[in-house]
Symmetry: D2
């Protein structure tokens, strides 16, 4: 059994804790939250210990790994501390809103053979991973074009937005990871943004709608489209096109019921809302992958370098949006 | 060029006349209608002759074939007269509302090597015929189960219903022909009927909803469902299931547009209404098949025997509905 | 917490035990199996007690309810004993292969205010129950026609078949329950059967393919089609048609991926196999409904009477198949 | 009746001639082709005159309108001559491969109140025009994002490619017109191109794959993706997304048949190939729109200005591809 502690008991930390508590080959040893009462409640429900401090968590020898689900600003120090304490780390994205602290973090830990996995949950969605497996197995030949659609049902609140880092770093970062996962290294980025959903975004110098184009080192072209508001639910689709055909991964609905009446035919329900439901099984598969990698002592994926790479693309997109130019990505060395 | 005359210029006769007027290898020589002014108008539009009488049509040596689209009661005498006059015949279904006159008609003409084709238009629908071709090519192995769905958008008027012969003879007869076309000879018929749509049907001792089961000589089981009213349009589907899989032929819509909004997703338009639109291309293909059979001097299909067989099944369904028993079909000799 | 014991640790008993072990408001107290080692293993995995005998289970005051998942022949005696011991009962279908023992069982326990729920799992499928809710909410007006498709991926083994009671009692019984659940009381049954899949069925005087027609007291007509073999997986669909439209509940696949290549377009995966996967969530919802009914002391559904009614329809179908007649169902009194 | 002559009897000129010969309110007066024998054959088939020269066509007073379907290089002189001869003009796209001759052409004819319609056939596709009507009627609120997919089944031959003007001017030009038709004036263009299908494109300094992003004056963002090769047929789709939802217009297949077998489920046929089939009805509707505009003396749409605007976008895309910069479109004056 792999002993795991969860740091940060917000919505997503709680979900990870539940998954760990039920996991056959892991045990949820402890949970920690800045608000002690929150940690105590989760600990009670899941028969785990409520740690009084991060230090207590890291000093606990029955804790082999930590899941970092605390606010973004704490990720870098926690990764550093956990790695130094000899723990494996699963960290929610992003490593940091800015690239420099993330790169600095890596420099600090690189020599320690760190075991760090990044929380790009979509890689573990059954449909997206089936699509990728078939792509890699050659089902459509060589990848030439991809369309990644990612539209949130509704914008987050103003407070969240102010600290979000903007659409590319907060939302598109998942799509950048999908793009790399599907097409490999990205060499060119162009992005257009628009403020169409809510004037608030404009006031924050942010955008709510975007159209991004990427070119992969392989030659493949990718298009990402994002919106912060989607009337019919959480729209998450991938289409990959190659020399021999196309694969599409479609959305999910709660039931398979179709309505046929005097107004329309074959009408299905609106889409599953929101990421906690849409990716419920992906979150569990993600943690399972983390535990399995620990057990088998194989490399984790996505790793720290994947987290950095997605951030670099988000920053390049922002630069492209502001400058009106396509951005060529410098070849990535380590990580 | 095959010279053709159309007898009866109602909705369907007019359509056949238009198809013939445009046909590359046929010429529309004449049209006749009991109402001379109607014939004159069609004739004018299509550059054909308006015949003053049936006799004139049958005496015309440039008329090689006649299309009979006049009221059902006239079919038997017209088939007889036309065959005796040496004409090939395309006759709208049914041959007659009753079996005896139809059988008597055949006895009268059988020795004349009659060339008679019956108007079961659905056999010429592109999707249904593609389904049948694949079935016969073995795509799903041996046929085991079939579901034929046929629901009209709205009931016809009371006057039409009174002379219609009832649901089985008027509406299900097309489905009986589909069943034979897909599965071959039918050996057992069971039918339930209900009056759910409009009390008028009950008053006429008719039904508006039915569930029919057939067993083919091959062993395959078939289910037909009919309704005289369908809120979302003209519902026409076939599903065939066999040892290796299933084929489905679906409905048609005017466009491929889907609507996704806060109420539903992937909602398509209601179905094409009604048979004149749904089977527009099938009607043209049917006439083309008639002309081609004449040119190549090959047997016509569906033929007089197919018309009789579908009627026999309609009568057996009626008998089953009234008696509550399944009806075993007597082996058919000629035709 | 409701204390529950599971009797019979085959595939389905094991699943129920797992669901109970994870249930928030129930506790799995004990498991029993005729093979003690099997019970011991499950008990170990799920932190429950392995009971040495049925008597031990029924004597245990911490056991409020039993789940009966043992062989069919044991259902009637176990229901009787459990009810007399004051336990609530969840029993897998069927109550008994024959009607008489089931009716006798009821007579024996009726005066004890028995709490018995029958394991018709499909009622708890998310799509089927959403379809029914909308039907009952009037989404398509009055129900007029229904098509229930139920095709197993592959026939069971010969040993199972010999004791199965035949297709209607073993397989269609679920569809009979669906029919009653959707349309209410059934007044007329007609069934055709065929042996098309494997000669073994014929040797056992059984069938592997069937087409069943039902008439409900409401006037609605229902068609059921069954096959013991389905090349593309476990085909489970419901279509209900009414005065205002149609609802369809479709099949499930493991992913939403579509393949478009030089051979075909929009091709999806084969269906989820088999009931353990297809109805995985339905089994959990079913047990949850059982626990909830116990907590709230409300009637259970489906109940003993529903089990008897589905059996009566299966027997009528068999009688219809053998006699060639439609069978009128006698009005049901108690239960 | 509007008298029309067709100039150029290649594949598309022949189609227009056939449509005109069947048109109820137009008459095909004459056809002309540089190869007299070709014109003579078409004229014979369609009961029209084979003109011996362009001059003869333009001098013919029974010719009210000309359809220009000759090689691109002849478009500008023919438009000029026809307009000066007082004829209305339907001209296949593009006006010219280069912008200057097209602008010069307009300057030459502008004062003559020219009646010129451009052959952007996709505007007349039933599904695309239904999508646009609903968009304009507010079905999805304000347009925010659009995805236009256009992939040809196979590359044209080397000879054609050499004179094609490159992917943007030859193929994407239709998509640029769609973009303007859906979103109005375009203010910014970015394009990436790639040579992935055949080295021949690279040798010609052309591309075979592209990802284009547009920003409309309205704020909407649009993404176009193109490929010169598509294994599953001619892929033509539009998706528009707005504040209240999404509309999608899907591809067309020859039949509605789905195959379900041990390999896949719900597999449909490959798509209709190629534009002559896919847009068969659109071509007829386009000519009908031309005839109707002449009859009613209303403005034609798409007009000469639409042709220029699409060309300007194609040139901007080429400039963007070569420079790596997004191109801001100068505000268009006349036309």
């Amino acid at each position: 059994m792999i002993g795991v502690a969860v740091i940060g008991c917000g919505r997503i930390g709680r979900l990870h804790a539940q998954v760990l508590a039920r996991h056959a080959r892991a045990s949820l040893v402890a949970v920690f939250d800045a608000v002690a009462a929150v940690a105590a409640q989760i600990a009670g429900e899941l028969h785990a210990k409520a740690a009084a401090s991060i230090e207590e968590v890291l000093a606990d020898r029955s804790v082999h790994a930590v899941v970092i689900a605390s606010p973004t600003a704490t990720h870098v120090p926690l990764i550093g501390a956990a790695v130094k304490a000899g723990k494996a780390v699963f960290c929610e994205k992003p490593i940091d809103l800015n690239l420099e602290p993330a790169v600095a973090c890596w420099r600090e830990i690189a020599s320690l053979q760190p075991r760090v996995m990044l929380g790009f949950n979509r890689r573990f969605d059954a449909s997206f991973s089936a699509l990728r497996e078939r792509l890699q197995a050659g089902a459509i030949g060589k990848l030439e074009l991809a369309i990644i659609t990612s539209r949130d049902p509704a914008p987050p609140g103003a407070e969240y937005l102010k600290g979000s880092g903007g659409l590319f770093r907060d939302m598109s970062i998942h799509d950048f990871d999908m793009a790399r996962w599907l097409a490999g290294e990205i060499v060119e980025v162009h992005a257009l943004g628009a403020n169409l959903v809510d004037p608030l975004f404009g006031e924050l110098n942010d955008i709510d709608t975007s159209a991004i184009t990427l070119r992969a080192a392989s030659g493949a072209l990718l298009q990402i489209n994002n919106s912060r508001r989607c009337a019919y639910g959480y729209d998450q689709r991938i289409e990959v096109f190659g020399s021999k055909g196309m694969l599409q991964a479609h959305n999910q609905r709660a039931t398979s019921v179709e309505v046929w009446d005097a107004q329309h035919t074959a009408a299905q329900d609106v889409l599953v809302d929101f990421f906690m439901q849409r990716y419920r099984e992906a979150y569990a598969a993600e943690i399972d992958s983390f535990i399995s990698a620990l057990e088998r002592q194989v490399p984790m994926s996505p790793d720290f370098g994947d987290g950095l790479a997605a951030q670099r693309l988000a920053l390049a997109a922002e630069e492209s949006r502001r400058s009106g130019r396509a951005i060529r990505m410098a070849p990535v060395t380590t990580p």
